[in-house]
Amino acid sequence: MTESEVAGARERHEELDKGALLDAYRTMRTIRDFEERLHTEFATGEIPGFVHLYAGEEAIAAGFMAHLDGDDYVASTHRGHGHSIAKGCDVKGMMFEIYGKDAGICRGKGGSMHIADLDKGMLGANGIVGGGPPLVCGVGLSAKVRGTDQVAVSFTGDGGANQGTVFESMNLASAWDLPVIFVIENNGYAEATAQAFSSKGIDIAKRADGFSMPGVVVDGHDFFAVHEAAGEAIRRARQGGGPSLIECKVNRYYGHFEGDAQTYRGENEVENVRKEKDCLMLFRQRVTSAGLLDEAELDKIDEEVKNLIDEAVREAKEAPEPSPENLTTDVYVSY
């Protein structure tokens, strides 16, 4: 098995056959292990900069990306590792990047907040909240003008949903009938500030109506629910039916970034979600009880993913730093 096969879903899976289910599980497990391992490694002080973990939200990335081809695009956020893995970015390259190494997916110049791989349709994690939605409008326009059936998906948080660029992009996509999907990952907080305050706790999906596009709320812990809602919106977009807004209600398992003491959170908030709604747990229960997959198949993926992440971390730690000349290269295409 090659590295990229281990990493996650590569093929479009509109129907959830056995291969699709295995891919989805592998994607979610890879994201989870990647993030939990970063959580531990960050605590040792070896990982530089800001690291925002996606653990708890894996079903969203896996559910959407299952419907995307390699030439469809996604724009992500500061919490971008999950989207990157699910869109097919090289897992080791990502780990090298987070350690700031020359072999990183962005040559050590971007780090956790800027993981990108345009060849994989990954337009980048983003350090600017609300930076992504305008970009996917551009991709949608590009697909329309060139006459392809590509689609573009932007991911934005509940906090980011209040950024002017997001409103403007929804309106533009609607006016231009663009093949674009706006996904809001509502995990209840923007840093420490609750969505209950910042947008009065409304269903953000309701805003779709103001832009004349369909808007739905789904449970972001439930891969199957996300997969279904995503499929409908993406199919519509491919067929020229215009943009959609999908709000996924979800929880983040760790702090806003690593090092966040999280005293703003409720008592046992995360523990309860982990026990009752964990996306990997729900997925496993559902596929095994329905007889679609057996425990051994899933355990095997767990084992393979664990080895991949171990290897990625070990190699990343030993990998060489970027050389000093790289400081001033790639500022322009010409140098």
């Binding site: 971007g110 350090g127 409720g266 400081l327």
Partner: protein
């Protein structure tokens, strides 16, 4: 007098001004830091903890905002025109891109466009600078862009004492002020009086006296210049360090007087080199002190390159004492012998 960090000095300035004047209101993302959440409401006090504790003392004068910079920075301008003295926080200066219009075309222009009829006493506090591996969108030193705009004042303290005095002066000032805090300096300690005091905007400080070369250093670069000065003194080169403290208005006279004495200029600026404070001050000195100059002005800046993520590259990116000392040595070796 007691020892306080740069961060505590800023917090104290805010607290004392909120206490003195109930029209001083503070807002920004997570400035309270937990509004609406089930746990601690003032959990954060800003992303770095600068406004921590203010909510407990002034619950009616500090607010969290949604992530809507155009709206709340514009709201600061509107509030300033209608009876408040807002201190808005725009976390990282890189995010200013989202709300430039409200700053450049609204707040900065009111006074002039309205024929002198408006006052806009607002402060935008913002963090700048490289050094924490935060990469290209969280590490820039964008103060030259604001210095370029007529109608804005630009303040950049290099130490805890100045941070408190300049912030209080900025809050009491009747024009819009962009107040630049260096994130690496937050933990630096110094002597800071307990009582409120102001440092006038537009007055530079001579941080170190010397006869051979003038270094003008901006913000965190003052400490790089000081370290360079100590090693240069061992070689018998005495530098004079000027800390402008305010970039707009700029205390040109103090810079010119120093250069008239030394005849040599090195400007140390963490910003990109083009259209920077370094190029601006070099040009001003070339135009106004030409007959006193013994060598061409020199600039020590970041390269014309976005800030990189990897620590091994970022450490090369920011001007350091060695680069400053080298520039000083080069200028001493150049031109007319002193």
């Amino acid at each position: 007098m007691s020892r306080k960090s740069y961060m505590q000095a800023i917090n104290e300035a805010l607290a004392q001004e909120m206490e003195r004047d109930p029209t001083v209101v503070v807002f920004g993302e997570d400035n309270v830091g937990g509004t609406g959440s089930p746990g601690e409401i003032d959990a954060w006090g800003g992303v770095m903890g600068v406004t921590k504790g203010l909510y407990g003392k002034f619950p009616n004068q500090i607010l969290d905002t949604p992530i809507s910079e155009s709206a709340f920075i514009g709201a600061a301008a509107g509030a300033a025109c209608s009876g408040l003295r807002p201190v808005a926080e725009l976390m990282f200066v890189d995010f200013m891109g989202v709300c430039f219009d409200q700053i450049f075309n609204q707040a900065a222009k009111f006074r002039y466009m309205f024929g002198g009829k408006a006052r806009t006493p607002m402060v935008i506090r913002t963090m700048y600078g490289a050094g924490i591996r935060a990469a290209s969108q969280h590490s820039q030193a964008l103060y030259p862009i604001f210095t370029h705009i007529p109608g804005l004042k630009v303040v950049i303290p290099s130490n805890p004492y100045d941070a408190k005095g300049l912030l209080i002066a900025s809050i009491r000032d009747d024009d819009p002020v962009i107040f630049f805090e260096n994130k690496v300096l937050y933990a630096i300690e110094g002597e800071v009086p307990d009582e409120p005091y102001t440092i006038p905007l537009g007055e530079a400080e001579i941080v170190r006296e010397g006869e051979d070369v003038t270094i003008v250093a901006i913000g965190r670069m003052v400490s790089m210049a000081e370290q360079a000065a100590a090693s240069l003194a061992d070689d018998g080169i005495e530098v004079e360090i000027v800390d402008p403290r305010t970039l707009s208005p700029l205390d040109e006279d103090t810079i010119y007087e120093s250069v008239e004495n030394t005849g040599r200029l090195v400007v140390v600026d963490e910003a990109y080199p083009r259209c920077s404070m370094a190029s601006d001050i070099s040009a001003l000195v070339a135009q106004n002190c030409f007959e006193h100059l013994k060598a061409a002005p020199k600039m020590v800046t970041a390269p014309h390159t976005p800030p990189p993520f990897s620590g091994s590259l970022e450490d090369l990116y920011v001007p350091d004492p060695e680069k400053v000392a080298n520039a000083v040595r080069e200028t001493v070796g150049q031109g007319v012998a002193s």
